[in-house]
């Protein structure tokens, strides 16, 4: 290689190294490697060169060209990396500032529990049905063995809307409506819904609350079936270690009737404030469907038997989420709602 080429290479490498930006590098590339660049000019001299020198010079020139291309590529890479680094460092953020977003929407705790309870029963083969909130005396009371002067009506003071029309005090009237509609067993339903009682509001009473009614009617339905079903429900909702206790109670539309309690979810039965030191928490009422109720709905009590239950959705929500005042459920304070 002759001196001239050596000089050219030195100049070119120096120029490449000195380039500080992509555009500068591009200029250098044009100057040396472009069509009319320095390398090109040398190429043009080849034609006039004696044959003996031409081959060696040509080879050297090509090699030089290759080296310069590599050098530019490398430099290009280097410059890009540098630029990226600079950009990244300029883009630093306070990563702890809040992000850009809409509020998270949440379902009300009552809805959550409503869904959870119905899912448990659907998994056990119960259809989910519904009934009207405006009821007649017949469905709400009479058909359920609660005649107008029944002492048990004391607990169910009602809101009246007019002749014979009232806001249902329980979801039990759905039992009658469902049996009438189905006409024949098997019946296996739950009916969640809103109920109304003329009770003044306090920490544990609300004139509006929610229940889920359950009804199973078929041949040979027994109290053992009632127990097993509700034990399974309690375990699904409150945990697999939960125990269930059944004790006699009274509802005019079931016979026998029972009240079901679960082992205390706080103390596990040792006795604490929540369970009033009894170890048990009352959770629902149930019983074997009274034969008169079956008759009222057009089913033959000699052929069929059944069990029914009513669960307070508000009560389950309060127990599950440790809510100590039922009014919180209807005040809709965001500080409350956003916890669910």
């Amino acid at each position: 290689m002759n001196e001239e080429l050596e000089k050219l290479e030195a100049n070119a490498v120096a120029a490449i190294q000195a380039a500080d930006s992509n555009s500068e590098l591009q200029d250098v590339k044009v100057r040396f490697l472009g069509k009319k660049g320095e390398i090109g000019k040398q190429m043009a001299t080849l034609k006039e060169m004696p044959h003996s020198q031409r081959k060696a010079f040509g080879k050297a020139l090509n090699e030089l060209k290759g080296r310069l291309i590599n050098a530019t590529e490398e430099k290009k890479k280097e410059l890009e990396e540098k630029a990226l680094k600079k950009k990244i460092s300029a883009e630093s953020l306070d990563i702890t500032l809040p992000g850009f977003r809409f509020p998270t929407g949440r379902l009300h705790p009552l809805t959550r529990v409503w869904h959870e309870i119905t899912d448990v029963f659907i998994a056990m083969g119960f259809d989910v049905v519904e009934g009207p909130e405006i009821e007649t005396e017949w469905y709400n009371f009479e058909a359920l063995n609660l005649h107008s002067e029944h002492p048990a009506r004391d607990e169910q003071d009602s809101f009246y809307l007019g002749e014979n029309r009232l806001l249902r005090t329980q979801t039990s009237p759905v039992q009658i409506r469902v049996m009438e509609k189905m006409g024949a067993p098997p019946v296996q339903i739950v009916a969640p819904g809103r109920v109304f009682r003329r009770d003044a509001t306090d920490a544990s009473h609300s004139p509006v609350f929610h229940q889920i009614e359950g009804l199973v009617v078929d041949k040979d339905i027994t109290m053992g079936h009632l127990k097993a079903t509700l034990e399974a429900f309690n375990k699904e909702i409150f945990g697999k270690d939960i125990l269930s206790r059944f004790r006699p109670d009274y509802f005019p539309f079931t016979e026998p009737s029972c009240e079901v309690a679960i082992s205390c979810i706080i103390c596990g039965g040792e006795g604490c404030g929540l369970c009033k030191r009894t170890g048990w928490i009352e959770i629902l009422g149930a019983g074997m469907v009274h034969p008169q109720v079956l008759k009222n709905a057009g089913f033959d009590p000699k052929k069929y038997s059944g069990f029914a239950f009513g669960i307070g959705i508000d009560r389950v929500a309060m127990l599950k989420y440790s809510i100590d005042d039922i009014r919180l459920l209807y005040e809709n304070d965001m500080r409350f709602l956003k916890q669910f």
């Binding site: 809409f102 119905t118 405006i134 079936h225 034969p291 965001m334 956003k338």
Partner: protein
């Protein structure tokens, strides 16, 4: 119902069982013991003290200042009861002692002297109403004793929460009967085992039942030479422990017998009854009676009264009349013991708003078999205490004695229904323990069971099954999952739809609220200032706010927003409620409705400066509605100006899906916001969800997507402010040909360059063909056509950059 444990022990032995366990056994048999409490309750701060100093009050003549002490305490007592001697032993209550009215004793000053305790009277421990009589201490009382311990009123009391069917347990005897059955122990005492001595009857009196359906049995006995005095401490103590108060000898004895046996009794002054006649009849319209609580009552013809020849003298089974009440000068008393029909009695008691100890028992059923026995028992006690002389010649009118009902019981059925583990012999045993008569036929296995007179609630074999199960123990019944055939369990489409919608709404950033179903007309007028509100009225509302059923969810939404903003002024609110509303007062109907509410800066940005655009809340709620509908259906809603005074007239719209109006949205009119005390811009939307639920069920159908790239263009149009972007968009779409896939507002710009009262709206357009890549040559003529018609139809000018 509360029962002193000591009284129960008279009937059943259970000294060997801790009372908590006894209570638990009763509870598990259906007689729930809600509470066991020592009757000392409230009386803890008391002691038997010795008077150590007596001096006259320096300023108040007739008052003395006593120093009373025991070994550890000392108090100063001011009194004007009488002069006390040093060394006297007296009952003292000090700070914290609870008086009958529920107030706690406190120190007080009188005439410059401080008194920090008081001498306890009979009234202070509710033995009697007599506040002037110092509570007598028994000889056994020792200085330093707590007063209730000293007088022996500290004892456990069972407080029962009884079910409505067990009227038979509203007495000591009833609880004792069940307790004996539960423990399988005998009843030791027959309350009716006594010898009643009587003197011959020498006056005439009569009993006539004119309404035998309402009064199946009525008995009367004359007792002469009645003595009204204070009853002895033991009787008053039992009454107090049972939740009653001591009044006088005769009233106390009738109450005592009622508490023990469950039979309410009433005492008339026989000589005040006209013609000494008792007539049991319905009231006559317009008749009045002054009852012993000194209240005049207007009677209705459905009510049963006890009358004499001319007037009602008692509301049967509820309360006696003042004019025939026994007094200190009563010579001949008529003791009533009767049985009344529960239903009518309850209606009467409710109608007169008088629930008395007697009515509560009669309405749940009183045993007609023991009407006379209980009367005799009271007469026996009166004679024994020297409070009167029972005469013979008791009149007992019982025209149609109740025949005990025999129920056939198939033990195999009970086994199938309750548990196969209960042996028929055990069933028989349980029933007998509960006083049922069980007859076993020689052939077959069907038992004939007769319920005792006090068990009205037993009518069918299932009732017997419950009796067997509750004594056997519900918890011993084996749990067995019912066998069912495999079947598909489903929700109603309505519930499935509501559930899906709630989940979508939460997904749109809305939190769910649940409120009461009530409203009132005032509240409705606030949101509907231009019309007379119509809503379903509640005939017997509980409060003034809750007089009607809500026909709309809006007021509750606004109240929820107001309350939240008051509690947490900066909280962003994006809320929804999906609940029932009630229409048509004539023929009330219910349907599901949806309301959405937005208030505050719901979009959160890192800093306030980043939130540098003044986004009208209208656009926030519109965006939510668009997102919500987009989650439900591929169909795009359109929005037209709304005409509803609830809203800001220029920031509200009706929502259309196709040709159907499905709702409204908008910023709430500032005046209406002010009506609800909301100071921030608030938007609400109401949406009919029935059509949306119908769409939810629709399965999506895939439409082919082109594999060729889109060709994008944009166009900026300057139009007057009042031209809606949507109208330009419609023109673009109309002339965009099949190739225009999408056109949407990209930007709206205002400024000097554009001119006052005008805006520049930029639309982004995307063209695409299914089968080829589009070229400019194809799209250019379409763009020209669009530009022409936008100018022509919208009066817009094209803005060139």
């Amino acid at each position: 119902m509360q029962v002193p444990v000591e009284w129960l022990r008279e009937y059943v032995d259970f000294e060997d069982i801790p009372i908590e366990e006894v209570a638990d056994k009763l509870t598990m048999a259906g007689l729930e013991v809600g509470e066991i409490y020592p009757e000392r309750f409230g009386y803890e701060n008391s002691y038997v003290g010795r008077v150590t100093n007596v001096s006259e009050h320096p300023a108040k003549p007739g008052f003395w200042i006593l120093t009373v002490e025991d070994d550890t305490r000392g108090n100063t007592v001011l009194t004007n009861l009488r002069e006390f001697r040093v060394g006297e032993i007296i009952p003292i209550g000090y700070e914290g002692f609870i008086l009958p009215d529920g107030m706690k004793l406190e120190s007080m000053k009188f005439g410059g002297e401080t008194s920090d305790a008081k001498i306890l009277s009979e009234a202070d421990v509710e033995y009697s109403d007599n506040a002037e009589v110092i509570l007598p201490l028994p000889e056994s009382a020792k200085v330093g004793d707590c007063v209730p311990d000293a007088i022996g009123i500290t004892q456990e009391v069972f407080k029962f929460d009884l079910t409505a069917n067990r009227g038979d347990c509203l007495c000591v005897l009833g609880i004792a009967r069940d307790l004996a059955a539960v423990l399988d122990r005998p009843i030791k005492k027959d309350v009716f085992d006594f010898e009643l001595e009587t003197k011959p009857l020498d006056i005439d009196f009569s009993v006539t039942i004119k309404a035998p359906m309402l009064c199946p049995r009525y008995s009367g006995r004359v007792i002469r030479n009645v003595r009204i005095e204070e009853s002895p401490l033991w009787m008053r103590r039992r009454l107090v422990c049972s939740g009653m108060r001591g009044i006088n000898s005769i009233v106390d004895v009738t109450n005592y017998v009622m508490i023990e046996t469950g039979q309410p009794l009433h005492a008339f002054d026989l000589d005040t009854l006209q013609k000494r006649a008792i007539v049991v009849r319905r009231a006559i319209a317009g008749e009045k009676i002054k009852t012993i609580d000194d209240t005049d009552r207007l009677l209705d013809p459905y009510m049963l009264v006890i009358a004499d020849k001319t007037r009602p003298v008692a509301v049967a089974g509820v309360m006696g009349g003042a004019e025939t009440e026994i007094e200190g000068d009563t010579v001949n008393m008529l003791l009533e013991s009767a049985h009344f029909q529960p239903r009518n009695l309850r209606k009467t008691a409710t109608g007169l708003d008088m629930r008395t100890e007697a009515s509560v028992r009669f309405e749940k059923g009183v045993n007609p078999d023991t009407t006379v026995k209980c009367s005799d028992y009271a007469s026996y006690l009166i004679a024994k205490m020297g409070w009167g002389t029972p005469l013979d010649g008791l009149i007992d009118k019982y025209p149609k004695p109740v025949k005990p009902k025999k129920i056939s019981l198939n033990p195999a059925k009970v086994q199938k229904f309750i548990s196969p583990d209960i042996e028929p012999s055990e069933m028989e045993g349980i029933l007998r323990r509960l006083d049922f008569v069980v007859e076993k036929p020689e052939k077959g296995k069907i038992l004939k069971v007769t319920a005792p007179g006090h068990r009205f609630d037993i009518a069918i074999w299932e009732d017997l099954a419950e009796e067997i199960a509750r004594i056997y123990g519900y918890n011993r019944v084996p749990s067995v999952m019912p066998k069912t055939l495999i079947h598909r369990a489903v929700m109603t489409p309505n519930q499935a739809g509501n559930r899906k919608l709630r989940e979508i709404l939460a997904g749109c950033g809305l939190s769910e609220t649940i409120t009461f179903s009530f409203t009132n007309l005032k509240e409705l007028t606030r949101i509907w200032p231009d019309k007379t509100p119509v809503a379903v009225p509640i005939l017997n509302p509980l409060t003034e706010d809750h007089t009607h059923l809500r026909p709309t969810l809006v007021p509750n939404m606004l109240k929820t927003i107001a309350r939240n903003r008051a509690n947490s002024p900066d909280v962003p609110l994006q809320l929804f409620e999906l609940g029932k509303v009630f229409m048509d007062p004539e023929n009330p109907a219910e349907e599901d409705a949806l309301c959405i509410g937005v208030c505050g800066r719901s979009l959160r940005t890192p800093t306030k400066t980043d939130y540098n655009f003044q986004l009208p809340v209208y656009y926030v709620i519109k965006g939510i509605i668009e997102q919500f509908i987009d989650s439900v259906t591929p169909e795009t809603p359109s929005f037209r100006p709304a005409d509803n005074v609830l809203y800001h007239p220029n920031r509200s719209a009706e929502i259309y899906l196709g040709k159907e109006k499905i709702g409204e949205l908008g910023e709430v009119h500032p005046e209406i916001c002010a009506n609800f005390d909301i100071r921030h811009v608030t938007a609400v939307a109401t949406v009919d969800i029935a059509p949306l639920k119908a769409i939810l069920d629709r399965e999506p159908r895939y439409e082919a997507i082109s594999r060729h790239p889109a060709l994008a263009r944009d166009i900026s149009v300057i139009v007057p402010e009042n031209v809606a972007a949507r109208s330009i968009e419609e023109i673009i779409c109309r002339y965009g040909s099949d190739l225009l896939e999408r056109a949407y507002v990209y930007d709206v710009f205002r400024g000097e360059k554009i001119g006052e009262g005008k805006k520049s709206v930029t639309f982004a357009l995307e063209f695409r063909a299914v089968d080829r890549t589009l070229t400019d040559e194809e799209v250019n003529p379409i763009m020209e056509k669009i530009i022409f018609f936008v100018r022509d139809e919208a009066g817009g000018t094209l803005r060139t950059s």
